[in-house]
């Protein structure tokens, strides 16, 4: 069950460039949260901004009743969030949406993250590790500074492959290039992805070609976050609209449209 919970901010700091991390004491959210779910956050004060902003759960400590989010400053909402001080309250709805399913019997999975999209995959990796799964992790970013929390990733990944578009760390290029190369010799039980839509679409095509199943977490602008407003619709491969907040944010890779939108 989701709740509306106001919890104390424990830390809120800049990781690198536009990337921040916030930790909040939210026992009810923490106890119910599953990897791939998101929280809907009142980032500012008053009407500025008006709407909440959705963020994936990056890490959850159920005992301590704490959640952590990693966020990239993009506009009004995320900028307002950086102003929140430890000790202040954060107003959060969640956990919301359907997370990444970890079907029993899986042995080895691949996690593919692009940019700040890697956030929910870390929560997933921790849960997967706890239930004995092996995770190979592929992370991509524009530049080295965007490859956040490498030390944490090293602790959970059986194999960690990195890519940056400018070549400042790891493979020079996009993360899907790496996945494509490795897919030639290897095959995971499933791929779990989160990143820009283009990344998920390319993965959908690649996974289909390789006969591998998987999941991708999609994004959309949200108002309600709970399926009430119909605002966050995305078009799936079969042409139908689905709600990211209620039917997702995680969809089967097979459902994700493989081709970019027309003009």
């Amino acid at each position: 069950m989701a709740t509306l919970e106001k919890g104390e901010i424990i830390a809120n700091r800049c990781l690198a460039g536009p990337y921040w991390e916030i930790a909040v004491r939210l026992p009810q959210v923490a106890v119910a949260a599953r990897p791939g779910q998101f929280v809907h956050v009142r980032c500012g004060a008053g009407l500025w901004p008006l709407l909440r902003r959705p963020f994936s759960l990056f890490a959850v400590d159920r005992e301590a009743g704490e959640i952590r989010l990693v966020y990239q400053v993009k506009g009004t909402g995320t900028l307002a969030l950086t102003k929140k001080q430890p000790g202040e309250e954060l107003d959060v709805m969640g956990p919301l949406g359907l997370g990444f399913p970890l079907e029993p019997g899986l042995r080895k999975i691949w996690l593919v993250g692009g940019g700040v999209g890697m956030a929910p995959l870390y929560f997933l990796a921790r849960e997967a590790a706890a239930s004995g799964l092996t995770c190979d992790v592929f992370l991509g970013a524009v530049t080295a500074a965007g490859l956040l929390h490498q030390e944490l990733w090293r602790g959970v990944a059986a194999r960690l492959e990195l890519a940056t578009e400018d070549g400042t760390a790891g493979h020079k290029g996009v993360v899907t290039d790496l996945v494509e190369t490795v897919l030639r010799g290897n095959r995971p039980a499933a791929i779990y992805a989160c990143g820009p839509l283009g990344m998920s679409r390319r993965l959908a095509v690649m996974a289909a070609a390789a006969g591998v199943t998987g999941y991708a977490s999609l994004e959309s602008r949200m108002a309600c976050g709970v399926g009430a407003c119909q605002g966050c619709a995305v078009r799936l491969k079969d042409g139908s609209y689905r709600l990211v907040c209620r039917d997702g944010p995680v969809f089967r890779l097979e459902e994700v449209e493989g081709e970019p939108d027309g003009p």
């Binding site: 069950m1 989701a2 709740t3 509306l4 009142r42 009407l47 500025w48 901004p49 008006l50 709407l51 909440r52 009004t76 709805m93 959309s220 602008r221 949200m222 108002a223 309600c224 976050g225 709970v226 399926g227 009430a228 407003c229 119909q230 605002g231 966050c232 619709a233 995305v234 078009r235 139908s240 609209y241 209620r246």
Partner: protein, 308 residues
């Protein structure tokens, strides 16, 4: 003693004047983790059409200063699925259910009204006439007195349920439409729907919304909505449901004082899912502070303020 917040919208009696605005609260079930529906004056459903509607291409939302522009496109599961899958849930809550309906033609409104007539658990019908009339080349039903009256009259004949009619914002001309709808047999009027709006992505030089244009809601429009409610209140005797940008008890009181008998909360619920409950409490506190025992002492109690 706690003040009496009950109000009548014609034959429809509500124990609180605070309800949700159609389309912002789904079918009620989406928000049950956050509030007790029986604390609301009524649940107004997302607008229902005869056939299911997929809605407009995304993006469907764009936030603007203190406002939200949406182009949902009346995405809804259609009458049949509503009756089968959505209504039973609502019927079990102790809250009046107002079903919002829209048609592409006058006949579709009538058909929807007839279908709801026989159904248990429906407290009232709200005709959303702020949508395009397919037969009249896409003009809004509500934009002219004659068509607004037509659709009202036909629904009135098709159902004995209390009939609320939700008007679009019109400058000028809303008073004429309101008068015509009153004449045609509505029991109450809801004012206002969203204002026509557009947001442009200057990088892509395209509209942000997939549908091109949309409707503006939220606190940005509140002063305009209060004006429209006040204007309609001077023109008709029907009870009014005021809405547009209400986020706090004080906002709601502006509408009540201007002449609305009840208020609806839409966009504010997205930021604060408990807004409606907090607004009810705030209205009660306001009455208590003034030693008033009944909401009626407030409704339409605006004193003159200068030359207008």
């Amino acid at each position: 003693m706690a003040p009496d917040l009950s109000v009548s919208l014609g034959p429809l009696r509500l124990k609180s004047p605070v309800m949700c605005a159609s389309g912002t609260f789904g079918f009620g079930e989406e928000y049950t983790d956050y509030l007790d529906l029986s604390q609301l004056g009524a649940v107004v459903t997302k607008t229902i059409t005869l056939q299911p509607r997929e809605g407009n291409p995304p993006p469907r939302l764009a936030e603007t200063p203190a406002g939200l522009v949406n182009s949902i496109g009346l995405a809804n599961p259609g009458l049949e699925v509503f009756l089968r899958e959505k209504l039973p849930f609502l019927r079990r809550r102790r809250v009046p259910v107002v079903v919002s309906i829209a048609g592409n033609t006058v006949e579709e409104y009538a058909e929807l009204a007839r279908a709801l007539e026989g159904t248990a658990g429906i407290a009232a019908v709200e005709a959303n006439i702020s949508c395009p009339n397919v037969k009249e080349g896409g003009r809004l039903f509500g934009s002219r007195p004659a068509t607004a009256a037509d659709v009202t009259r036909v629904i009135r004949r098709s159902t004995s349920l209390p009939l609320l009619v939700k008007l679009p914002p019109l400058f000028p001309g809303l008073m004429e439409v309101a008068g015509a709808v009153e004449e045609a047999g509505a029991d109450a009027l809801a004012v206002t729907n969203t204002l026509p709006a557009m947001v442009i992505d200057v990088q892509a030089r395209r509209p942000v919304l997939g549908a091109g244009t949309g409707g503006l809601s939220g606190p940005a429009i509140r002063p305009v909505a209060v004006y429209l409610v006040w204007q309609v209140a001077t023109a008709v005797r029907l009870p009014l449901i005021g809405m547009g940008g209400i986020a706090t008890a004080s906002d709601a009181l502006e509408f009540l004082i201007a002449g609305a008998s009840a208020v609806a909360v839409g966009t504010a619920t997205f930021g604060n899912p408990r807004a409606m409950v907090e607004i009810s409490t705030g209205i009660a506190a306001y009455l208590e502070e003034r030693g008033m025992s009944n909401l009626r002492e407030i409704i339409g109690s605006l004193r003159p303020g200068g030359c207008s």
